[in-house]
Amino acid sequence: MLKIVIDGKEVEVEEGLSVLELAEKIGVKIPTLCYHPAVSAYGACRVCIVEVIEKGLSKLTTSCTCPVESGIEVKTNSEKVKKTRKLIVEMLLARCPDAKIIQDLAKQLHVEKTRAPQKNENCILCGLCMRICREIIGVDAIGFANRGHKRKVTTPFEIQSDVCLGCGACAFVCPTGAIKIEDVEDKRKIDMWHTELGKVKCERCGRYFFPESAVEYVKRKSLQDVDGFLKLCPDCRKRVLANKLVCGW
């Protein structure tokens, strides 16, 4: 067990946690955009910045990437933190003026308008979509391309990805909602990834329900026999089950 001081409160914690996870555990709120408990911390959005005082020396660091160590003191809302966080949010607001989550964050921190020249982006380059795709789904369909102000998340060579499952996890976790998934009849389109995937047609009702590659992924990963139901949409699976039980197998 480690003893640390957080916002003047002394707490005992087990090893292996980050400052952000600890704060969440004891109910101290630290705003964050790019943190997700399922993937490794990346420290990209910088919003979760805190002041860490170690051996009398104070430093500002992102709480998601800062491991809890014995004897440190953490201030999550000191003047220094507030000032820096305000600047960070101001810059994020300049990049993504239309993102709702950033507008809300700016309002919370009393950032009225941004002094930096405005851009019209939605992506804050936190790389959460990329981390989810690589670490959790395990297909690595997207990644960062270019450097500096040209940096962006995209598929290799900015062409149709041949490994993308079209599962939509990237769009689900994106904090600013920059990734749009469009479902049109028998296709799933992800414009940001230049990808268009065909969907599987339900054998029973004829509805298109999931991208073919996602169905293949389940077939590959499943331990049980899935051939019997994978061609059916979830609604028809219910009907088939009920039919079997009512009319006999």
Binding site: A38, V173, A214, Q224, P234, R237, A242
Partner: protein, 163 residues
């Protein structure tokens, strides 16, 4: 002992009260599409069958979940989704053989039967008693008793009530 939600479909009259109460208590509005239980109707056979997540012993959704967001509750043994860990890939929906999970379009969350923390509301509100919560060790006895009852009524039918 593990308790399971059991359905006697012969008793179900297809009134969809279970869907309504499930949606009302979980989503605070009566919308059957947001319910965790669905009554499948067979109009021409006159049969109705409520379908819901079976909270399986070895769930396919738990096995497929790449983010390990699906787990079994220690007390109720219901299969639950950790919304914070969920990455929204919807593989669980695809891997479930009976369509027990669904995706809430507005809240962007996986929804499934969580047995209402061990005390399902659908059981309480079912007017015909078609749904019940049973301890796993009494199911066998229940089924046997039910089969004997059916067999004896069948015998009665064959013999015209005579010995």
């Amino acid at each position: 002992m593990k308790r399971v939600l059991l359905v006697n479909w012969e008793k179900c009259i297809g009134c969809r009260t279970c869907e309504m109460i499930c949606s009302l208590l979980n989503e605070e509005r009566c919308n059957p599409t947001e319910a965790r239980i669905t009554v499948i109707k067979f109009e021409e056979k006159g049969a109705d069958f409520p379908v819901y997540c079976q909270n399986c012993e070895a769930p396919a959704c738990e096995a497929i979940c790449p983010a390990k967001a699906i787990y079994k509750d220690d007390i109720t043994e219901a299969v639950l989704v950790d919304i914070r860990r969920c990455i929204g890939c919807r593989m669980c929906i695809l891997a479930c053989p009976i369509g027990g999970l669904s995706f809430h379009p507005a809240r962007k969350e996986i929804i499934k039967c969580d047995l209402c923390k061990g005390d399902p509301a659908c059981v309480k509100y079912c007017p015909e008693g078609a749904l019940e919560v049973v301890s796993l060790d009494t199911i066998g006895v229940k089924r046997r008793r039910e089969n004997i009852r059916k067999f004896s009524s069948y015998l009665d039918m064959m013999t015209g009530g005579k010995e």
